[in-house]
């Protein structure tokens, strides 16, 4: 466990070295927030509420979602590059689990993005717009559990696709397509409240709803106590299921791996 915490901390410090990157990250995040809030505002026009959802709720939804998707932004070509140049073999020799190490590094990088890109951008946003406060203090720890589960779902989906580079020449295209599906279907661009009814029904049977929408709804207090427990259970179920699938691909892939030359 200690080793993995070290990996996460190391990655975090790695990121700290690039000052310009840090500054640009804040500007980028702040501009993105500003622009999307403008778009939502224009969509709302003079309407106070649409389907019982007010503009501040949408704004809050967008800001939280952006923060989470910011935290999940790392080099998804990592495994492919390792396989291509053959350095993946070094990883097998190390006395740590490759998967957990990767996860630890991504969490380290995510923590950096949240603390140094997202929070400053959020403070800038709060200067010119009002967001919904959390519904209750008790809700916050519950929300953090939900966020962690959502993060794992997102991470596992990405990892599963990355393992396909054991079989495919390049996974760049598939990763791009995956990211489009995730960004639309998880509601990170247009909240799921506003999706057509049938699509919402279908999405409730997929892991996409569990990524951002569940944590946001808990934050806004849209779910009752029982519904919250159920939503968390659904998230945990997806994590378990995706874990099994990821493990299967990883085992099959590493067995098939052939590294040429050295």
């Amino acid at each position: 466990m200690r080793a993995y915490v070290e990996f996460a901390v190391k990655k975090f410090q790695d990121k700290m070295a690039y000052r310009l990157d840090f500054f640009m990250g804040i500007v980028n995040t702040a501009i993105t927030i500003l622009v999307y809030l403008c778009i939502y505002k224009a969509l709302y026009g003079d309407a106070g509420e649409v389907d019982g959802i007010s503009y501040p709720m949408v704004a809050t939804h967008f800001v939280i979602t952006l923060g989470l998707s910011n935290a999940f932004h790392y080099n998804e070509m990592f495994l492919q590059d390792k396989i291509r140049d053959g350095t993946i073999t070094n990883e097998f020799l190390k006395p740590v689990s490759f998967i957990l190490r990767l996860l630890a590094e991504n969490i380290g990088e995510g923590a950096f993005k949240i603390i140094f890109h997202f929070i400053p951008a959020l403070l800038i946003t709060l200067l010119y717009t009002k967001l919904c406060p959390p519904v209750s203090l008790l809700g916050l720890p519950v929300m953090f559990c939900s966020v962690a589960l959502g993060y794992l779902i997102l991470w596992l989906i990405s990892f599963i696709i990355q393992t396909w580079s054991f079989w495919l020449f390049s996974v760049w295209g598939i990763i791009t397509i995956k990211n489009v599906f995730v960004s639309i279907l998880s509601g990170s661009l247009l909240p799921l409240w506003f999706m057509p009814e049938p699509l919402q029904k279908i999405l409730s049977f997929t892991p996409f709803e569990s990524i951002y929408f569940t944590p946001v709804r808990i934050y806004l207090g849209e779910l009752s106590g029982r519904e919250t427990v159920f939503a968390l259970a659904v998230q945990a179920m997806w994590v378990a299921l995706l874990c099994v699938i990821a493990n299967m691909f990883w085992k099959k892939g590493t067995k098939k791996l052939i590294v040429q030359g050295g």
Partner: protein, 267 residues
């Protein structure tokens, strides 16, 4: 004539390179197409619920987007090397061009057409145009067609000019990617929507600093005349095609001045 022959030869080479990995190229084209469609799908779904965005309905929005994609399809096949210019400098590949008996910019423009991206953007642009062009109340006579073609050419030159400008900065600064990220790629994302919805500051950026507004918003306004045009000087919609030429020429001059400063990064 000789120049044209080189151009065709170079294009043939690009096609051949890409065709070495047929399936991979196809997947990449599809990926670009789907990635760019994401915004369209979102705005389509949003307008199912909200009906219009600052007075623009769904077809008018698709028309606005189509200009952005159609122009970019040309930009990415002509100016791909300038898009990735800072990497080119870092890897020292720029030196190679200097010993060849043709102009530098000429070589950069012809080299390495990113045909997959071009096909992805182009298909989407044509598709959006076909869906929307008949339904937005434009009377397609000789004058409008002429203006439309002018606007496309202007839009290509404008974005190409911006690529040349950002590339020229590489001669002064080591690292220009984050600048490009903020001022080019971010602004391009915003340009898909009617700029009147934005904060005044961003409108200013899109008109005067990174003038994407002249790639799609003002040309679309010439053809559509939506009520939010009243926020701007009407002359903008008439000069839109010319802005592209002006941006291209001034970027070209800046390039000429800057390239003299170049000394290799060494190896």
């Amino acid at each position: 004539m000789n120049e044209l022959k080189i151009a065709l030869q170079s294009l043939k080479m690009s096609v051949r390179t890409r065709m070495q990995y047929r399936v991979d190229s196809l997947v990449a084209t599809l990926a670009v197409f789907i990635r760019e469609s994401a915004n369209i799908i979102v705005i389509y779904l949003a307008l199912l619920k909200f009906d219009n965005i600052n007075g623009w309905n769904v077809n008018e929005m698709l028309f606005l987007f189509s200009l952005l994609f159609l122009t970019y399809a040309f930009v990415v096949s002509l100016f791909a090397d300038l898009r990735d210019f800072s990497r080119m400098i870092r890897e020292g590949r720029f030196d190679r061009l200097m010993v060849r008996p043709r102009g530098l910019l000429f070589q950069l423009i012809l080299n390495n057409a990113d045909l997959m991206a071009s096909a992805g953007h182009g298909t989407l642009g044509i598709l959006l145009f076909l869906i929307s062009a008949g339904k937005v109340g434009i009377c397609w006579d000789f004058a409008t067609i002429l203006y439309y073609l002018g606007a496309i050419i202007g839009g290509v030159l404008l974005q190409g000019g911006m690529f040349i400008f950002f590339s020229s900065l590489s001669f002064y600064f080591l690292e220009t990617n984050s600048l490009r990220e903020i001022f080019y790629w971010n602004m391009r994302k915003f340009a898909g929507y009617p700029i009147s919805i934005y904060h005044k500051l961003i409108q200013g950026l899109l008109i005067y600093v990174v003038p994407f507004a002249f790639v799609n918003y003002f040309p679309a306004q010439y053809l559509l005349r939506k009520p939010d045009l009243i926020n701007y000087n009407e002359i903008y919609i008439y000069i839109a095609p010319l802005v592209g030429i002006a941006v291209y020429l001034s970027s070209y001059l800046f390039w000429r001045v800057s390239v003299r400063r170049y000394y290799s990064t060494g190896n």
